[in-house]
């Protein structure tokens, strides 16, 4: 909503400048988007009259104008404009003038002829050419012929004004009008509101019998007022009205259209002017459209109707889409002699649905959607009739058709000043409450010590209960005058849940291992499943689908995290970030049979590719399977998760069949770790190995965070022994560990694998594994015999189970 400061002054005295006004209405809840002080940059531009035009001796496209800008002497100005004639009055920028955008005008020579200034177009003066009338929008701006010469041109071009652009919240439809904004200003500055006149002089002849209004759907059209204007003359509206419409961003067309727009801006009531003679039988029928009915709207487009839309029809068919746009056939033209003026109340939801469906938003639909004042319809029709009559454009038939089947009463709401204080935390006196509400045109009555009754005018449909009135009091009183306190009630501890603490710790532990956190979208394309080689019958392909996705890339909610993190690798790879260690946590979504809402599970995924950072004295290492496994182990260890094991995962199609494993916690499958399958890498256009792990946090959360109890440090020294065994290549280290621990018993404190060797030192198909064993007892120093005995039972069990040989 664009509000002209000058126009606004017609309805209310404004004691402050436009900028100050903008500040105070913002503080009262009408957010100001911008304040444009028109003509602020303009200097030394005057109204001038073209006295004589002669041709330029050296250029066909230029002409020489002799221009009078006041005084006796004329000045010579060369211009390329082709729309000026002798005796035109135009804005003239003289030497030293400044135009919009800071352009300075100097005396100059054009093709050898001296030019002392410039004739200006609307654009050069900073006017919005979109809202200039057709005949002024292009070329030099021709001013009305009665414009005085030699005056500051800003006064005659609407540039001595400031336009405040409001960004209104959806509840304040009433401020989509000058009078609505004026009401706010009057309340803020406690000044009075001046309503415009709405009393046209009528002919003796009555409207009765000439027109008829039938409302078939009262719930969609609460009221329909029609006025009939006769002897209509269509011409340009007066300059003051054109300027005001332009300030509101509306292009002047002709007096009839301009007046309907003017009243729409002034009172917030959309009006429509029908060419009465085009309405069959002078009949207006407000009804639902018939499915497939066609209407050509004012913008020249053919619109196909649906049956839940509301239309205005005559006896033969639709003539307008109610509240949205009129039809081309009944449009007012130069030939129009009688006008039927519509001022109605249409249902907000219905208008919103229709305009959404047609993709057609107009100044009218915008206002109907927010809810207009049902009790203001008649006044708006009268106001428009008066304006047209006063400019000599018509005579007004007496009376009107006012089809208003069910009168809508003003609401009455009680308010207790004690409640105002209770809610705001600041006492506001009963008198102040009353003053504020009265200044907003609410009626106050039946006062007692408890409070009073407030009658809410119908132009404020947003006010329906006491708290709404309290807000009105608060915002006019000023939010900045309410103190800042802290809640005084019982104190609360505050904090995070165990689950939240564990999730935070997990992130910290991963970061401590040198992994960066990423955040990826929760949705992706279903194509990702093919890229990941997920089997057709996998539960992972059973997804929540977004019915109205922005793109195919965001059509389903993820069931696994891998696509997001692989995409990070791809994205970075394409930007030459070849080394990456990244993790992402978030939810995955699985449909549930017995619930509308899906199952949401917290997951973690991490990807690693490339090398660790190298330096001048350190070689970089590959972030390979064992590097990643080390991080996984470290994180689980620090999280206090015990009982983890890895089981080779031959069957997972996404990962390398020989380099992947399921992560199990206490026997429950909790995730997977492994090198990404080369075919998957190909699908992601990656030609470098990637290792990843994924983890179901719901499983981890069950086991994490259990505090260990301290075990006393050993008092007696331990004994270290190394043991190298040669076993077949396919024996898993895990199984060797298990046997060593079993045979080593309690005295075996620690086992570390420090070397694995395959090669010509051992026979083909075999590997040597070297372990470092630590034996220790809590209550004594172990003897060599005791240790030897353990070692020999370890070697014999390895021999028996794996046919292991000792390596010397």
């Amino acid at each position: 909503m664009k509000v002209s400061y000058k126009w606004l002054q017609e309805y209310v005295d404004i004691p402050v400048s436009p900028l100050e006004l903008a500040d105070s209405i913002t503080s009262a809840g009408l957010e100001v988007d911008s304040v444009a002080e028109l003509g602020k940059e303009i200097e030394k531009v005057y109204t001038g009259k073209i006295v004589e035009i002669s041709s330029h001796p050296n250029a066909d496209k230029l002409i020489i104008c002799s221009v009078n800008v006041g005084g006796e002497n004329n000045r010579q100005i060369v211009t390329g404009a082709d729309n000026v004639k002798e005796n035109n009055i135009i804005p003239v920028a003289v030497e030293g003038a400044r135009l919009a955008g800071g352009l300075k005008i100097k005396k100059t020579k054009l093709r050898g002829i001296e030019s002392r200034g410039m004739l200006c177009s609307g654009g050069e003066l900073g006017l919005d050419t979109e809202s200039l009338p057709e005949n002024q929008a292009h070329g030099i701006m021709i001013l009305p012929s009665d414009t005085p010469v030699g005056e500051d041109a800003r006064k005659y071009t609407g540039l001595d004004d400031a336009v405040i652009e409001l960004e209104l919240t959806p509840n304040r439809g009433d401020c989509l009008s000058m009078i609505g904004v004026a009401r706010e200003v009057a309340a803020i500055y406690n000044t009075s509101l001046k309503l415009p006149g709405a009393d046209p002089k009528s002919l003796d002849e009555y409207i009765d019998g000439k027109a008829e209004v039938i409302i078939e759907n009262n719930e969609l059209c609460r009221r329909y007022v029609a006025k009939l204007l006769t002897g209509v003359k269509v011409f340009s509206s007066p300059v003051w009205m054109q300027e005001r419409l332009r300030s509101a961003g509306i292009r002047p067309i002709n007096n009839v259209v301009d007046v309907t727009n003017y009243v729409l801006m002034e009172l917030g009531q959309p009006l429509h002017a029908f060419d009465y003679d085009k309405l069959k039988d002078g009949k207006i029928i407000v009804r639902r459209a018939k499915e497939g009915e066609i209407l050509q709207t004012l913008d020249g487009t053919e619109r196909k109707m649906k049956k839940d839309m509301l239309v205005i029809a005559d006896s033969s068919g639709p003539v307008a889409i109610a509240g949205v746009m009129g039809g081309a056939d009944s449009e007012v033209t130069g030939d129009t002699s009688m006008v039927l003026l519509e001022s109605a109340y249409f249902d907000p939801s219905s208008v919103r649905r229709t305009s959404n469906y047609l993709g057609l938003r107009s100044e009218s639909s915008l206002r109907f959607e927010k809810g207009i004042d049902v009790n203001g319809c008649l006044r708006a029709a009268q106001r428009a009739a008066k304006l047209l009559q006063e400019m000599g454009a018509c005579s007004v038939l007496a009376g009107q058709i006012d089809n208003y089947p069910e009168y809508i009463e003003e609401k009455t709401i009680p308010i207790r000043p004690s409640r105002v204080g209770y809610l705001l935390g600041k006492e506001i006196s009963q008198d102040e409450c009353k003053n504020i509400l009265s200044s907003l045109q609410f009626k106050v009555q039946q006062e007692d010590e408890e409070g009073f009754l407030v009658t809410v005018p119908t132009f404020r449909p947003d006010i329906s209960r006491e708290v709404d009135l309290i807000e009105e009091v608060a915002r006019i009183h000023g939010y900045d005058r309410i103190p800042q306190t802290l809640p005084s009630g019982e104190s609360t501890e505050g904090g995070r849940t165990e689950r939240q603490r564990i999730m935070r710790q997990l992130r910290r532990e991963l970061v401590a291992c040198g992994v960066y956190e990423a955040i990826t979208y929760s949705f992706h394309s279903r194509k990702e499943f093919d890229r990941l080689r997920i089997p057709e019958d996998s539960y992972l392909r059973n997804t929540i689908k977004i019915q109205n996705p922005l793109t195919e890339e965001q059509e389903i909610m993820r069931t696994l995290m891998l696509p997001g993190v692989l995409d990070i690798v791809r994205h970075n790879y394409s930007r030459r970030n070849y080394n990456a260690a990244v993790f992402d946590t978030g939810k995955v979504f699985h449909p549930r049979d017995n619930s509308d809402l899906p199952e949401e599970r917290e997951k973690l995924a991490a990807v690693f590719t490339g090398k660790t950072e190298n330096a001048w004295n350190t070689a970089s290492g590959n972030m390979d399977f064992y590097y990643v496994k080390g991080i996984l182990e470290a994180v689980l260890n620090r999280m206090g998760v015990k009982g983890c094991s890895l089981e080779p995962a031959f069957d997972n199609m996404t990962y390398h069949p020989g380099r992947s494993a399921y992560i199990q916690v206490h026997g429950e499958k909790a995730g997977i770790i492994g090198e990404i399958h080369p075919l998957v890498l190909e699908n992601y256009e990656l030609d470098q190995k990637v290792t990843a792990f994924e983890f179901d946090m719901e499983v981890l959360l069950q086991y994490a965070g259990k505090k260990d109890r301290y075990i006393p440090l050993p008092k007696y020294p331990g004994t270290n022994r190394d043991l190298a065994v040669v076993v077949a290549e396919d024996i898993l280290a895990r199984d060797v560990f298990r046997l060593i621990r079993k045979a080593g018993g309690e005295l075996l404190r620690d086992v570390k694998l420090f070397d694995v060797y395959k090669g010509n030192q051992v026979s083909e198909g075999c590997q040597s594994m070297a372990f470092s064993l630590k034996f220790q007892a809590a209550d004594r120093t172990l003897t060599d015999e005791e240790v030897n005995e353990r070692i020999s039972s370890i070697t014999s069990i390895l021999q028996k189970e794996f046919d292991a040989r000792l390596r010397s």
Binding site: T26, G29, E31, P170, N171, P348, R352, L423, L424, V467, I470, E471, A474, R475, Y479, D480, I482, P483, Q484, T485, L486, P487, S488, G489, E490, E493, G494, G495, R496, Q500, L510, V511, C513, G514, V515, Y516, E517, A518, I519, Y521, S522, F523, I544, K545, I546, Q547, N548, P549, H571, N572, N577, A580, G586, K587, L597, E600, E613, N614, A615, N617
Partner: protein
Amino acid sequence: MEDKLKAIAREAKICLDEASDLKKLNEIRVKYLGKKGELTKVLRGMGSLSAEERPRIGQLANSVREELEEYLERRTDELKNKELEERLSREKIDVTLPGKPCMLGKMHPLTRIQGEIEDIFTGLGFNVVEGPEIETDYYNFEALNIPKDHPARDMQDTFFTGSEVLLRTHTSPIQVRTMEAAAPRVPLKIIAPGRVYRKDDDATHSPMFHQIEGLAVDYRITFADLKGVLKVFAESMFGSETRTRFRPSYFPFTEPSAEVDISCVMCGGKGCRVCSGTGWLEVLGCGSVHPRVLEISGYDSEQYTGFAFGMGLERITMLKYGIDDLRLLFENDLRFLEQI
């Protein structure tokens, strides 16, 4: 004999002076002071001395020994120091060469700022709660006083996954869920961070982003309390010099409603490009809980009052780090994640 002793002392001192390392010193010690050294040799010849001479010479020999030992010790110290100095000088390195790199790892800036915000509010007695990202129309709209056809639905373009199921457009449904579960228990103070979704994707909008919602319900929670709590938040988050401004606004689930501006973090309120010259930055929306929302959630709206607020995590994070492009937060470019 006396002369001989004096000669030994003289000679030994010269040798010690000339010795250039500890090994040489040791040789000299053995030569003069050892069991078979010069001094011992002289003392062995004491038998041939007269009884009167013996004590005198004995005394002399002892004092020569002491003198030499002392001298030796001094020379040893001197040489040790010299050798240490030489070693230290040999061992000098270029300390300005880079250190061995650690794998760093960092938390995403959004996570870090979320943590900071949570910390501020938990310190004020708020509990952190979460809720589902896929919600019913009821919790996302209806229970927040946004019935079907409400204009506020237009402001939040919604992704639907079913006729009454959607990706939550804000974290406000958590308010309702929490109140429903707690009613009529008070005091209730929660902060609810989470992902939210809107059908919008351009330079300043991401289809997925984060909000943090706050809610307090108790007897006599006032609008003034809301102002106070948010003032504390703004000062903790952006510095104690930060000023806050409350402007009336509109949200269907609060009444009275306000938009909160903070004094610009870039220019301190003088006006700059970031704040479009106004000196103020809009950071959150808030208000007293609408009585209808309290009633829907099971609280008597005469008896209890509350406040609620919601802020965009991305907005706060961008202001804190001076990030000017929203997309950076979701692109996961490592150069960004490593730098910030």
